[in-house]
């Protein structure tokens, strides 16, 4: 039985590109330890250095010497924060950490760990579009600031931050600058040189490469401490036998991501617009979350007041459509998405949020299928809902005109 299957969760992870898969199948035979001095070792090493150059190109790094392979984004972020821990312990007069309130949990939790250890940690507020409050940043920066860490683009709402401006302000205060660019890389241009930052995190499985491999860029000269100690691999910054297969796959994925970037971005933006216009025009009372322009071309985050996110997600799942939600009910906690709450969204809109993230294999047909299937799902859930969007929502928060509001009555009991 064939049924329609639409994957729209590319921000969670991406499938392997066929070209990457092919390259990795060849690389399965590159078994030698790339630290070995003999010929097979040197051959493996050459392949790794070729991959390193491709990854450096993708993030606009001038040379490859500051690029270290890690197991992924979480490790890269933790390496930076644990380096700050060491620096702050040695010099308590400069150990303030400034980050944003919408970071990925691995930055949030790494920062929270430093706070537990007594470091002053500030989570910058964002505006309703998810952009970091630059005035707040200016106020917080000072001679005590050790690190400013702001993500390049948000995974949930897709908002792109002005890292160049953030970096310029931070540099004036003498602070180090880190950006978690896991979601930005491969979707929008990224340049560590233009941004003038000290550290950048990226992950391979978001750019159609394998899981379990990522990288940390460290500006040559910037302080860095190993998270994993051991052998002398990666100049002693990251111990552990080289992951030949992952690194070679990463190199291929990076090379393709860079050459495809302009075409890919334009195609994603067109599909995103088609999806947004289609849903907003067919479903009454939809809130579009994130920045209207400074947004990842593949990411669309919508809130459907009156309907709960997990129920929407599972209804779509029954139709073969895969998305994600910011609802607490899907995460097992009581709190909905910290990102959406930080943008000022009420808990109900956060619970009723769905993230559609498009990718290489997305087509107009996929988008049209979602546009066909979602409206009756929202209508059904709203009809059985205790929440009447007409009464409970501030109309200014939504994009829908007032004449398309659902005219649902509230049930009343007879006395």
């Amino acid at each position: 039985m064939s049924r329609t299957f639409v994957y729209m969760d590319y921000n969670a992870t991406t499938p392997l590109r066929p070209e990457v898969k092919e390259r990795m199948v060849e690389a399965l035979d590159v078994y030698a330890n790339a630290s070995s001095l003999h010929e097979s070792g040197r051959r493996a090493r050459a392949e790794i250095e070729e991959a390193r150059a491709s990854v450096a190109d993708l993030i606009g790094a001038k040379d490859t010497s500051g690029l270290y392979f890690t197991s992924g984004g979480s490790e890269s972020n933790n390496t930076v924060f644990m380096t700050m821990y060491q620096l702050g312990r040695k010099n308590p007069s400069r150990r303030k950490i400034i980050t944003s309130s919408i970071e990925h949990p691995c930055v949030m939790n790494a920062a929270a760990y430093l706070a537990e250890e007594g470091f002053p940690v500030v989570y910058l507020p964002v505006d309703s579009s998810g952009r970091v409050d630059m005035e707040a940043l200016k106020k917080e920066l000072g001679p005590d600031t050790l690190l400013v860490s702001v993500m390049a683009a948000n995974n949930e709402i897709g908002t792109i931050e002005d890292i160049e401006a953030i970096s310029a302000l931070a540099k004036k205060a003498g602070a180090l600058v880190h950006s978690d660019a896991t979601q930005a890389v491969g979707k929008v241009p990224v340049s560590v040189e233009d941004w003038g930052i000290d550290y950048l995190t990226l992950s391979c499985h978001k750019i159609y490469g394998p899981k379990g491999i990522g990288a940390l860029y460290v500006r040559p000269g910037a302080p860095i401490q190993p998270l994993i100690r051991g052998g002398h691999q990666e100049n002693g910054v990251r111990a552990g036998t080289y992951n030949n297969l992952g690194i070679i796959g990463f190199g291929k994925a990076a090379q393709l991501a860079l050459s495809d970037l302009p075409e890919f971005g334009a195609r994603m933006a067109a599909l995103r617009k088609r999806l947004m216009d289609g849903l907003v025009s067919r479903i009454p009372l939809v809130k579009v979350n994130g920045h209207p322009e400074a947004v990842l071309p593949n990411t669309l985050n919508l809130s459907f007041p009156g309907a709960e996110g997990e129920a929407i997600l599972l209804s779509l799942d029954l139709e073969g459509i895969q998305v994600s939600t910011g609802s607490a009910c899907a995460s097992g906690s009581l709190e909905p998405s910290h990102v959406l709450l930080a943008t000022g969204l009420g808990p109900e809109l956060a619970h009723g949020s769905i993230r559609f993230s498009l990718g290489r294999n997305s087509s107009e047909k996929d988008v049209d299928y979602v546009i066909e299937k979602l409206p009756p799902i929202i209508q059904r859930l709203r009809r059985m809902s205790t929440v009447n969007p007409l009464q409970s929502q501030d109309q200014s928060q939504t994009n829908a005109p007032l004449d398309r509001l659902p005219g649902e009555k509230v049930p009343a009991t007879t006395a």
Binding site: G306, E308, A311, P336, P347, R383, T386, E408, P411
Partner: protein, 198 residues
């Protein structure tokens, strides 16, 4: 339960896709009693409407803002209380509903199964209208948290299931998450039950 097939049991799926006794805004359902519990802030809210005659639940309608298991569990509850004596219906527990659904993930039982509490709130309202306020309370359970209609029995069950501190009790029952007025009384009970059960 096979996670690949679906997140929940087939019974949950069936009730989620075809929920029974959902309130239809166009239907003229004349209820004798109504109960609402839950809080949109936490992601779940439930309303129960009852028709009652001679102490028997004649018919029932409900609405919920909530996840798939909230919808399925309320649907299942609404089926099982039709024709039931209100005193018996008052004693239904989340675990009873979960069992009928072929099981629910542990974290979903207290978080999404609010139907029993909405049902009790509706029965309480019915009794109140009849001048029999609180008649079923005390004989079986005492409401501790009036915002969410959480009883001493609910706290007892949560402690039995491993909620041995305030945070875990809150995660399990959501007690004290609305006005917080019940906290000291609830903490007393928590200590008592932890003493008994652990």
């Amino acid at each position: 339960m096979n996670a690949f097939q679906w997140l929940y049991s087939d019974v949950v799926k069936e009730h989620f896709v075809n929920p029974r006794n959902v309130f239809d805004p166009d239907e003229k359902f004349e209820a004798d009693a109504e109960g609402v519990v839950g809080n949109i802030k936490c992601g779940d809210q439930m309303m129960f409407l009852l028709k009652i005659k001679d102490e028997i639940i004649q018919d029932v309608r409900w609405k919920t803002y909530g996840c798939a298991s909230a919808i399925a569990s309320t649907s299942m509850l609404s089926e099982s209380v039709k024709g039931m004596d209100i005193r018996k219906a008052y004693g239904i527990k989340p675990q009873d509903i979960a069992a009928k659904l072929g099981g629910l993930p542990e974290n979903k039982i207290h978080c999404s199964v609010l139907g029993d509490k909405a049902l009790r709130a509706a029965i309480d309202q019915y009794l109140e209208k009849q001048g029999r306020t609180g008649e079923f309370k005390g004989e079986d359970a005492v409401v501790i948290c009036t915002c969410l209609n959480i009883t001493d029995k609910d706290i007892e069950e949560a402690v039995k299931a491993g909620a041995h501190d305030w945070q875990k009790l809150q995660e399990a029952t959501k007690i004290g998450t609305v006005c917080g007025g019940c906290k000291s009384k609830a903490e007393e009970l928590l200590h008592e039950y932890v003493h008994i059960y652990s």
